[in-house]
Symmetry: D2
Subunit: 340 residues, 4 copies
């Protein structure tokens, strides 16, 4: 591509995340929104009007279009693997929201189909691009905390999603913890070998029983060299979207703290410090990260380099999710080698 | 465009601030960038290319254009009053960077010329739109801190501007403290009556002597009801752009703290907490505020309401700057009534 | 002294902890230091001189003395159970440093010997008396955080103890985690049923191998109702004594943060916030708690009420330590019922 | 004195501060409480009983006693100068609560009477001994913040003292700000030359009018080299005893923040951080400092060195108080040379 080229990206899926990505692409200096598609024509028309972009009639039109260099897949999870296969078939670069699929078998089939494509395929593990988490990781990579010993990842949603969503979410490990599994791998620099999980039904027991799911989980991962990573999840933190990471090593510790909407603090007779609410929910909290993600994708495509986080990363996170589920079911630590 | 009209704003001046405003207007859902102008054709062309907008050949062309509803004045200070007068003459709404002029006499002449125009004229005291400072003000307005007694405004630049700039800046009170004078008025809810200032040459004494200026000042304002406001300025804070406000009343206190680039914190053997650098400098620190300012301007024009901060606010801040200068020169508290 | 009687307490053991307890008792308004004993006559003489108190020639003299109402047992762990049995035999109240013994069998034998003595026997789990941890617990007890869902206890020593100590410590679970097991029980309000632990040798692998011990552990406890408690330990945190507790429920969260030596903060060109070192090590960090512990003991004896933390609490913590050790050895979650 | 000598200190005055000092002396390893005296025999008897010490019948008995090496003067302000003169006459070292007297004339007369006594006379400006403020000062002395440019001292009481006290307090500058004047001198390392003050009656206007006093003041001090120091006082901060100091220089800033009763923090749906109340009031907040003060006094007497803070420091603070009062009265900056 020439010196001043821009990457023409079409967005598949115009739900909450798709709309945000479309706006980010439109505003990005090195990307152009090449159009949008959604199974709901109405949703697609709305985004098309707001961003003054093409509205594709069918998804096939997107893949067929010569005006599209890359696709951002933000449609429902069940379509992800199909869309990846189609995009690879027509040589369009891919930025795909997590997860690739709820089924590891389907992911593996997808992997076989796309083969050793040199096409950039990037997975939307957006937290890797957050400035705070990146600074925490830099403390490891730069040697500031020395050898890594323990990680604690706390990740709690502000509120349980609607029952309709929970029923098709694939369960907490595939839907929510998957981000933390990826964060663990991002920080550990070494593959987890054992997964030990406990799960409880404390936020909404009837719904959780119906879904055969857990709303409160603690997971412990260990690596061959003895690094330990603890993940704590809850589907409901009434004080807001709780996103913290702690990395501890033999020379120090770095902690990703929560980020607030503003920094005005209050002192009264009843309490002496009151912070602003946390940035709430992922679209606000990770706004900078979602933008940086688009930039990283454009870089990867333009430079022909591997994306920072790719298909295999998506698969590995899913392996950990599967192992965690099995650990609870069987009441024992599970080796990832049993799942892979 | 019917109900969903947008305000077409041209930007006069393509320096650092003008460029930022141009990008903000271009990205704003209810504004459109109607073109740019700068005395440096090259600077204007660069912004025009980046934002894909018209580059006006002369400033007269801007005022003559039918495609321009409003002007954002970000050119050099000496042009502000002229541009305000021209914009009023052709009925274009105005968003003008501070100050209106370095001379109170020129400001008063401008006021007489534009008369009682009903045209929206908004002054760019951007800090009024910062989420943190707004939350601090809300603590006053909502009664959370009760009756206001004392205010402390700390405002320190990360580094001294180049000598060439300092020589024409109009002095620290008109150039830098003017933002704090406006913040004081924004928070006090009452006009300051006395101004008492001390000034020192500590950061760069030779330059300050040459400019007959001060790089380190403390100012105390009082109002008729006895409210006290202290302003602390320095031209150089090596730890970053230091922007804090404390409001204290009979029911509590609210404090605007500095905002950091990220929230990753470190703990090592030498120190046990290390924050990220502050957002640095005003374009980063007040990015949200600059955006909100455009929105407030569009609102005022569309709704035909008075802007939150107008011409008279610009004049009042200048009166305080003049009184502060006189206070140092004469070594005594100065009544604002002596200056007005 | 009539109504204002004081409790006459003798201290057994004049090591670091014994000396501190002796000074605390001497300064306490409702206690009197009735004398000290140590197998090292020299150590006992030194404390005796400093606190101007009796130095007993033998431990038997302590138990025989009519001037002693109660004993504080701060001698080496192997003597604890014997001393408890002797004190019960002569009717002297007991405040015993943790643990009762390294062997659960010995603890159970001690329990049988002392039988259902109505004598106050208090265990020195000092953290229960720390103002910060008490405030965190109050957030649970008062209902401020609603139903408890998750607990995270982080407890890291500033540095590994000398090898000679590590070799007889009884292992990390009995020596260090035992405080956290008691804290877990203090906060959970419900007995843990399953214990799942992982351990690594990362701080000093050769020493840990020689001792068949772990310097880095993560433990997960669960209760019948589904509450989850994660404990993180390390034998070495270079940034200081790291003592944090997080309790999370359906109405909020409370967090015990670390306490610093002072609250002067620095901002420089390299970093923008530098806290003081943490209070370091347990004698400084828990100074208020050690004092409060003496007060609680005096209260229990004077009022004839059960101490806040007693023999059975010491035994329960040891059961959890035993279960954690077995969990690592057998690579599976262990039910506490298997150990009890 | 021999190797293991202790300083025998008698306490004059058994009010709140005297009682605290008596207990501190009694517990201090290198001091002994040699007795107490108060014009209220009952108050003296109570402290005497609690600390098991001599109760002197008259103040003359204290000065006559051979068992008294030093006196701690904590009686009412009007007796301070007399007691200093008497103690000097009999060669007893002195630790005197601030202020020496409300009248500068009386202080100067006292100075003439005691002449150039080599006897240690220490003034009770306790904040100089606070670990947090000492760490802030160390940042100046060690060069960590470079050349000092600006100081901000915020000092607010939790609540207005009773009217009876306010009526004889000598006014806010002599009673309350005097601590801040001393802190300013402690930190500036250079004598203030000009004093500019404003005062308001906002907390209790009728009482303040009756006392011809101010409850809310802002004071600006400047030195010959151009250093600026701002002091902010209020008689009532509903959120607690507010004691902060900020020192700003060309290489950085150090800030004494408030210290809390504990470090348990809460997060709920309404607010996301709630700190504990501040340590409240001076006896709690400066507990460590009061203890360190006794130690420094014992050091000075034993080593025959000048106390860290002496008679002249007491006098200088009073000069600043006088200048501040005159500045408000005359509505102009006052040179300290006009007062001295």
């Amino acid at each position: 591509m020439g010196g001043t080229s821009v990457l023409r990206i079409a967005v598949l899926g115009c739900g909450r995340i798709g709309r945000m990505h479309a706006a980010n692409i439109a505003a990005h200096p090195r990307a152009r929104l090449a159009g949008v598609f959604d199974v709901s024509r109405e949703a697609a028309m709305e985004v098309g009007a707001r961003e003054a972009t093409t509205v594709f009639e069918t998804d096939e039109d997107v893949f067929a279009s010569e005006g599209v260099d890359a696709v951002l897949i933000a449609s429902s999870t069940s379509t992800h693997a199909d869309y990846i296969e189609k995009a690879v078939a027509v040589g369009k670069a891919i930025l795909c929201e997590k997860p690739i699929d709820l089924s590891l078998e389907r992911v593996d089939r997808c992997a076989r189909i796309i083969g050793k494509s040199s096409l950039p395929i990037m997975l939307g593990f957006v937290r890797r691009f957050d400035p705070t988490h990146r600074a925490t990781r830099a403390a490891i990579v730069n040697g500031d905390i020395g050898d890594l010993h323990q990680i604690v990842i706390t990740s709690r949603d502000p509120a349980m999603a609607p029952a309709a969503y929970m029923e098709v979410s694939g369960g907490i490990f595939r839907d929510m913890t998957i981000h933390d599994f990826d964060m663990a791998r991002f920080l550990l620099g070494e593959e987890p070998e054992t997964v030990s999980a406990v799960g409880s039904r404390l936020v909404n027991p009837p719904l959780m029983e119906r879904c055969n799911d857990w709303d409160t989980v603690s997971v412990v991962l260990t690596t061959a060299s003895g690094k330990q990573c603890v993940i704590l999840n809850s589907r409901q933190a009434v004080y807001g979207y709780d996103q913290r990471v702690e990395v501890f090593g033999n020379k120090g510790m770095a902690v990703s703290e929560n980020r607030r909407t503003h920094d005005s603090v209050r002192f009264t007779g009843e309490f002496t410090s009151r912070g602003a609410p946390y940035l709430n929910f992922f679209i606000e909290r990770y706004a900078e990260a979602f933008n940086a993600e688009i930039g990283a994708f454009v870089d990867a495509v333009e430079n022909g380099t591997a994306p920072e986080v790719g298909f295999e990363d998506g698969r590995r996170a899913l392996v950990l999710a599967e192992a965690a589920g099995r650990s609870i079911q069987e009441g024992r630590p599970v080796e990832t080698s049993e799942v892979i």
